[in-house]
Each structure stands twice: as C-alpha cells, then as structure tokens.
C-alpha cells in the first residue's frame, strides 16, 4: 500500500506503525509519531494499523542550539 512518510510517498507492506519503525531501524524512543496530523501515544504504536493513503510524520528529537 501507498503511504506518505515525512512528506515522501512510500510503498509499505502494511502492518502497524511499530512494524514500520522496526523496518526502518528506528527506536520508538527516538521519535514522536504523527498519523494524519495527530500525535500517537507510544503505547498506540503497536496497536495502530496503517491504512492506504495515511500520512505519517516521524519527528526526531532535535536538541542542539549552541
């Protein structure tokens, strides 16, 4: 199925948000995940199944300033 991840169209196998993170080798502790403009709770990652057309934003921590 086709989804958008950080603004880029991507074909994914389907499954849950957590599975998508795993496939990308991203630890759930490193990102905030937004699905269709709504921030997901960390415990929702394993229970949220992606659907065709979903817009996913993976927001990484950005700590610098100095």
């Amino acid at each position: 199925m086709q989804v958008t991840i950080n603004g880029k169209p991507e074909a994914v196998q389907g499954g849950t948000i957590l599975e998508i993170l795993k496939a990308k080798d991203i630890s759930p502790q490193m990102v905030a995940v937004e699905l269709n403009s709504k921030i997901l709770e960390r415990d929702e990652l394993a229970s949220t199944v992606v659907k065709d057309g979903d817009a996913i934003e993976l927001l990484f921590y950005m700590g610098g300033g100095r």
Binding site: A32, E41, E57, Y61, M62, G63, G64, G65
Partner: protein
Amino acid sequence: MPFIPDSEEQVARYSRHILLPEVGGKGQKKIGLAKVLIVGAGGLGSPAALYLAAAGVGTIGLIDGDVVDLSNLQRQVIHQTADIGRPKVESAKARILAINPGVAVDTYYTRLTAENALDIIGRYDIVLDGVDNFPAKFLINDACFFARKALVHGGILRFDGRVFTILPGKSACYRCVFKQPPPPGLVASCQEAGVIGALAGVIGTIQATEVLKLILDRGRLLTDRLLDYDARLTRFREIKIARNPKCPLCGEHPDITQLTEHEPEVCAVKTA
C-alpha cells in the same frame, strides 16, 4: 497614537522598519518597549540577539552559564576570538551595545534551573530557546507554560533545523509532540554531534523574526505547525501539530503541575 521619535538618530536608524506598513512608527515603539529573554548565548542565541538588538528591542535578557570556547566560534557569531574565556553573556552584551547602545541588556551568568526559571522568565514578554540540551528545552517549555509567556523554540543538529512557536494554553506546546526527553545517550545533541555553522544563522534569524511578529502582532505565527529545514536539500517543510489532549503539561489531565528539572544528559553518544 502617532510615533514621537526620541531623536532624528532613531528615525534614521529604524527607517527601514518604519517604512513597513506592518511596523510603522507605532510598531517600532512596540519593539522598543518589548522585553525578550534569550536562553543560551550560543549558536541560535547569537544571530537572534544580533538581529533583535539591531531591530531596537528595548530590553534583552541573556542567560548562559558558559564561557566562550574556541570551538564555539564556528557558529556562535556574536562572540569573537578575543572573547575566548569570557562569559558568553558578557561578550554578547558588549557586541549588542556596540550595535545598538539604546538596548538595555540584562545578563544572567548562570544556567536556567527549576529554581530560577519562573523568576527570570517572569520579567520578560517573550522567550527565545537557544539551548543545546533536552532537559533545558523541556524546562523552558514548562516554565513558559506556567508563566504564560510566548516561546519561540528552535533546534539544530548536523544539517537539520527546526522552529516552533508556542502560545501557552492556546497553541500546541513542545510536550504535545515530545512528552519527555529522550533516554540519555540515545539522541545526539550539539554538544557531541556536528552542526553546519550557517544553519544556526538560518534558524536563529527565523526565531528572531517570530519574536518580532509576536511583538508587532502581525502576520501568521509558526504556532500549531513545526518548521523543519533540511540544509542538505535546501528544503523547508511544515508539519501541522494539533494541541494534544493527552499532553502531560497542557492537556486535559496534566501530570506536570509544577516546575521540575529532568536529569541532565550524560554525553554518551559517540561522535558520528
């Protein structure tokens, strides 16, 4: 109320502002009455302080507990080689006054803590986040929420930058997105990762522009949307952020009801 210039010097100095319909004499007066706190006189704080001083912000507070180090000069453009070893707030103050002697500069040669944050932030109208670590970013977000002060958040890392404006209680806050700091060592901050120097200029000046818009009450603020800048691709992207009802700070059932500090980071991440 017409703008009554204090002197011809001021009219000349701010003429390019006064010419703007969004600013004018009235707006320039507002800028002169504004009090802005810049937390961190480093990569983001440097360009922000330079432009806000040049713009005529009447009172600028600077808080930073560090001294200028040689490795800062690649991006912290308010400091100069001769300033090495000098407290950053002193070095930045001298440079601000050289640009615009009309600015009142308050310096706090210390770190922002849960103990001093509300007192210091309470003296200003707007806060600009230019710190380099997560506990401080969360502390600033929380303190601005409790003090109900507008906050312009910024972050830089490697080739990526981010800006986000927060009107506490009205727009999404930092914790609406990130509930808490990442576990120590998992995510690099600028202390241990590289950063392209000019990126600090891009992000810091966008933050300064947001501050001026807040003062002037003009334009559309960067609230409820994050601006991400990818310098590698020279691409800006906007991500819509809605207020999170489950936010631990500004949500419907907050767990954070008073100011506390997260554990300081251990710099465990190796330089990539």
